[in-house]
Subunit: 331 residues, 4 copies
């Protein structure tokens, strides 16, 4: 019973079907009919003007998004647990040509307006310091917590005042929308560029870069090609994204993953590091307790000495999640 | 009847089957069972020690390969029609941090030892010039021509003498092997790093970086992650490559593509810019002649004012190729 | 008798005097009184609004200037003999993060509107090619030829039409103004960024970046610091530039250098590769003839098998120049 | 009475004399007689094999030094107050192509073996994290503290064990040697690359990159040119360095600066944040106290709310230093 990572989840049958339907000759790169539909599909989803481009990984989505907001000599304020800081092997430094991540601390890996302002306030010495040009937040955060529309609005107030761009790493954006019960536009808030993840949520290898300033799309297209991310058979990428949007499959699958995590959370309520808001839980477990659970067939990730990370996916079976919740409760 | 690009070809059924068989939980990234098999599979194919990594595009394969051979202040000698020079939007400059392509001219876009030496001989002014550190050749060349094992050996003699690394862009490496009738190892010759393309030859979006100095594999792994090319569900990439190797499917499909081009070549023999050696033909056609063919339902690419490019793929129907050959002969 | 390079010339006594006068405590970096005067001094010289920053080498001046005009994925059209292409060890690739030089050919290393248009016309394949974003020309060219105000206007017409920025490498800008007999503003023409060289013309190690869009100055200030070119005792840089501007010393010295070259040119008239327009001459000389001149005590640079390069400087003695002219005439 | 920065200090008369003596034609760049002497001069100073190159700023010296130790995807462990982290506007990210600074905390901005090991121990997740490849320490530290030879040896033990290169930022290396009373070689310890600063210590704008692995010198030469730091009249740079080495002028001047700081420290003993070990002092002073001192004519830098930074230079007058010490004692 696997709770290691939503990266290990299967590809949804509707995604498979769409990919196979796309297996006919069409124009290469993103000139095919399906890729050409993306802008309209995401405009409809968000109820506002935007451009949408497929890309194969969340790291590429984040870094290409940030190229629209940050110059090589600039800085990006992010929480110290952010994926771009901890898990991307310096990819932002590569894509942004040495631009710097400026670290702030936040509860549950969420940035606050105050934390952003504190970083900005420390930049006072002119050309001797890297100037902040953007903020990157993660929806849901690395600890599985969602930013509410109100919290996002407050962050937007600060970034506007400071003249900073706002990027949202939405590797689990669907899980945020599912938890918040709001519209996608509300969950994106004032972000100018969104990495909208689908791979963890039922796609094979397709995420979307959503640019709420569509004038930036050409820049991202150049940079995507230059980074070797423009696939020759892009129709298979577009097919995945369109299948995920069709009938809000993405939202349905995110709800399923959240619900499965919720079943675990019920049994682990007193051990949760943070409240259950998505498909990720961080649960206080000793080494002995971990061994007991593993002996019962549960797989999960050792986060630190005190906690494990438990991740449910769209295809996590409810009975497995319940079983894990009960097993934790029994400890 | 489509002769525009092998990028537009379909995915082979055995590749589909292998991808679907891979759709079960496994370790993420390249820690899955299939990805772990790649080194052995390519070692067997080449009959020598090597490391093999999947990557999603030929541009990324080329650029990541070159990182093992060139420093940021160095240069790569290539033919002026090389894909890395003409078609990758400066990707080598991005991946190699400003390293420079040093252009040479060759007949049919093939480099010769003399052309390489001429470029190297022009670099005499110490730190004021970019030093050549590697050579990149394309097998088959941008004009569809193969380097014979003897030609490769001669190039290797020069690169060894000059202390240059040798990269081979094998976007159509299978077509070269099919034409040459030699082993893959012979077709790779003295190359230290090979971009072995499968996407144009029946895969969906998987090429291989083959490193004949396996000690460089870790470097490429870091750089692949840093470039956002380490997919979380890498098992689908490995599945494609293994399916293509299984029973030498890649060679069978390349032969089919070459043969289809051959059927066109029969009718176009007197109009060929270069001899038929792969799945690409460059055919002398006037604007009026092109219009005639297009009216008959043939699609192809306008190369320059005098020539069109005709590309067959693994799934080109022989009757279509014959029809095009006859149509050209009729002109 | 030295005609190798104007880099080997001495520092003018007025520059020495100004540097020594600057040797008193003042604010570090470019916060000193002298550095703060540069904008006004260059505005007066050019009779138009501009920003001026000191920098220690022509390579840095060129590359930092280009950062205001070109993005990392963009291209710079330049003549194939341009210093940025041939003599800066790939520095533009470093400073511009992999941006590409797009080479054109021109008579005497001068670009023409037609040559610029030809390069631009070849960029038709969207994201697969590096887009041209700027043009860089050299005043005087690598062969010592000046662009007239009319020629510059024609280039400006093309760059405006194509939406390209225009950079001028003015390592020998003073020599151009001295030859053209026009104002500095006329010799800069429609350039948006000018590398105005003083080091070859009597300074020790100070060139100026002149930005005719002063809003770009902050960008260059960040990039200059980031490239390690913001010296802590910047007052010595500013002192050099102000001394060179004082009483148009720069123009006086450039005239002297041009005149010295003219004395050589008189004797070499029938052997000149290009007409005498600055302080550089390219003279047809056989190996035997070179040996004769060297035996007479003249030092110069072997340009190619047929020509030598002869460079006069502000401190070249007229009698030496005359002697060289006569010696050539005698051959 | 100026205690703001040693950057504001004057150029020593012997440096001026050497520069003026160098004002005769010689080969350009670093091919002149003086530049060619540097390797031997620094070998003698350090009593071991090394290569030495001039460069115009400490930022460039640090970054070019690090290019010999770190790849673009690698990381450099440094203290969080290090100049490369706080004061160079991201220059390491530029020169190292996105390599990352990995921050550790140390008392008085000095790294310890334990701090280095702690950072290294946190890098466990393979390609998802930036691998540490080097350590950079500052001699004297940003708080003016010297590493003793024993401390350096302990750091060397750790870096050797972990396979990390060791860089030393010696912007105030002379002050360290003067305080430690050891040889330059002992003060450099196991460092592989040293930025040896002279500009703060009586030179105009010349620092040295000292490479204890001379085989790396060519790499630095290429990178120095590529970064626009190869000056055409390099003889003036070499002249400064040789003048500073002549008769150990550098050590004499560093001792003078340290002694002047010592005179201040006597009066400020109970207010010192750290013990007096160089020419820098951090002194606890309230806003009111600062105002009193400034009214008496003393200039210094506000470090934080509790402390000011006081820096003496080689030309600080002892009577001024005594006066400041007394003024602080009176508070």
């Amino acid at each position: 019973m696997q709770f290691l990572s939503d990266n290990a989840a299967r590809v949804h049958p509707q995604v498979w079907a769409a990919m196979q339907a796309a297996d006919a000759p069409d124009a290469p790169y993103d000139n095919d009919v399906l890729s050409q539909r993306l802008d309209a599909a995401f405009c409809e989803l968000f109820g506002r003007d935007c451009a949408a481009l497929w890309v194969g990984t969340g790291t590429a989505a984040n870094c290409l998004s940030l190229t629209t907001l940050v110059e090589p000599h600039g800085g990006v304020i992010c929480e110290e647990n952010a994926h771009i800081e901890r898990d991307e092997c310096g990819a932002p430094g590569f894509y942004l040509h040495g631009a710097k991540l400026l670290l702030a601390k936040g509860e549950g890996a969420k940035l606050t307006p105050e934390a952003i302002e504190a970083v900005a306030a420390g930049i006072t010495r002119g050309v001797h310091q890297v100037p902040a040009q953007a903020v990157s937040i993660t929806q849901v955060s690395e600890f599985g917590l969602a930013y509410s529309p109100a919290e996002l609005a407050n962050i937007g107030t600060v970034t506007s005042r400071l003249g900073l761009g706002l990027h949202m790493d939405g590797a689990r954006f669907g899980n945020a929308v599912a938890f918040l019960g709001c519209t996608p536009a509300e969950a994106a808030g004032p972000a100018k560029a969104l990495s909208f993840g689908f791979t963890k949520n039922g796609a094979m290898d397709a995420d979307a870069i959503v640019l709420f300033d569509p004038a930036q799309a050409d820049l991202v297209r150049w940079r995507r090609k230059r980074a070797g991310h423009l696939r020759s058979k892009g129709r298979f990428m577009a097919a995945q994204l369109l299948a995920m949007l069709e009938g809000d499959l993405w939202l349905d699958l995110a709800r399923k993953a959240n619900a499965a995590a919720g079943l675990v959370a019920e049994g682990a309520a007193e051990r949760l590091l943070y409240p259950h808001q998505s498909n990720e839980l961080f649960v206080r477990l000793s080494a002995e307790e971990r061994a007991v659970l593993r002996a019962e067939g549960f797989a999960f990730y050792d986060w630190d000495e005190a906690h494990v990370r438990i991740v449910a996916a769209w295809d996590t079976r409810p009975e497995h999640a319940e079983a894990l919740g009960r097993a934790i409760a029994r400890l």
